[in-house]
Amino acid sequence: MAIVFFRTLIVYFSLLAAMRLMGKRQLGEMELSEFIVAALIADLASHPLQDIGIPMLNGLIPIFTLFCLEVVISGVSLRHVRLRGVLYGRPSVIISHGKIRQSEMRKNRFTLDELTQELRSQSVLDIATIEYAILETNGQLNIVLQPADRPVTAGQLGIAAPDTGYPTIVINDGRVLSENLARAGYNDAWLQKQLNAAKIASPQKVYLMTVDGTGGVYVAPMEEK
């Protein structure tokens, strides 16, 4: 029992380190080789955990080998475009000027159902409004609408849009994030003033509070438990 416990700890932290060092924060957007590594690692890690008759190294050596291979291959492919194309494939233009390129669909084993599902998920219902739909190497479908169907920007309308900057979280679940507060250029006195204005007694009563570049404040009070 203790062996399984300690093995689980070792494998968990080894996996955590390996996945973290791979540099991908969004695991849902993995490239092909990363997906292979992730799928293999998950399986490899589980065997020595379940069977204490298998040496721990039998699980760890493949994990570290895969991790090293992934780092080397991704590093080399960064510098060699051809190798990148071979390993990860190339983006495919599925729709061009409102026309579905059926040969590209077949080449990518992409069905019409999958295409329409992807389009719906991006709120695009009319294929004729699409100038380009590109199937990226990580499996994502990116859509560029026809110029006439693109959302109008403030720049196109000649309107000066105020830059509100990026909203910084200053209170997270009742905890004041002092570093963020200082980075946004405010202090505890300002914070207390904002809370008083919102009729909130203390930061502990705040679920979320953000401040943007123009001093705009958003406060979500903590709900009563």
């Binding site: 060092l21 008759g53 040496p55």
Partner: protein, 126 residues
């Protein structure tokens, strides 16, 4: 690029470690088989005390390598080899020459198998 070099170096270390492991296991198995063969020869000449001493020396070496073998070899394989050693020791101590013939073969087969399973061959890889 530093990260890639470190990963490449780690791969080389892993490969080096794997090759070292093959040599270590070969050397250990050869030494043990040598001792077992020596014990067998002593038993054939009727030197039972000498055969027992040689075999106990081999068992001590095998058990002393436990720290290493348990890290690199599947534990059931180690247990099978250990059982085979003690089965042979029992035959040697009881001076049962007929039974010992098979037991000697069994120990040697286990040791050869343990060393052989680490060897890089097309068959072992595929």
């Amino acid at each position: 690029m530093k990260k890639e070099w470190i990963a490449g170096a780690l791969l080389a270390v892993l490969l080096g470690g794997a090759v070292y492991n093959i040599h270590y296991m070969d050397k250990l198995a050869q030494t043990l088989i040598g001792s077992v063969e020596h014990s067998r020869a002593q038993m054939d000449t009727g030197d039972y005390a000498g055969a027992e001493a040689s075999l106990r020396g081999a068992i001590d070496l095998w058990m002393g390598s436990d720290g290493y073998t348990h890290i690199f070899i599947r534990h059931p394989e180690i247990d099978s080899a250990t059982d085979a050693f003690y089965e042979l020791l029992s035959d040697v101590v009881s001076r049962d020459n007929d039974a010992a013939v098979g037991s000697f073969e069994k120990v040697e087969a286990h040791l050869t198998s343990i060393a052989g399973m680490e060897h890089i061959t097309i068959g072992s890889i595929l």
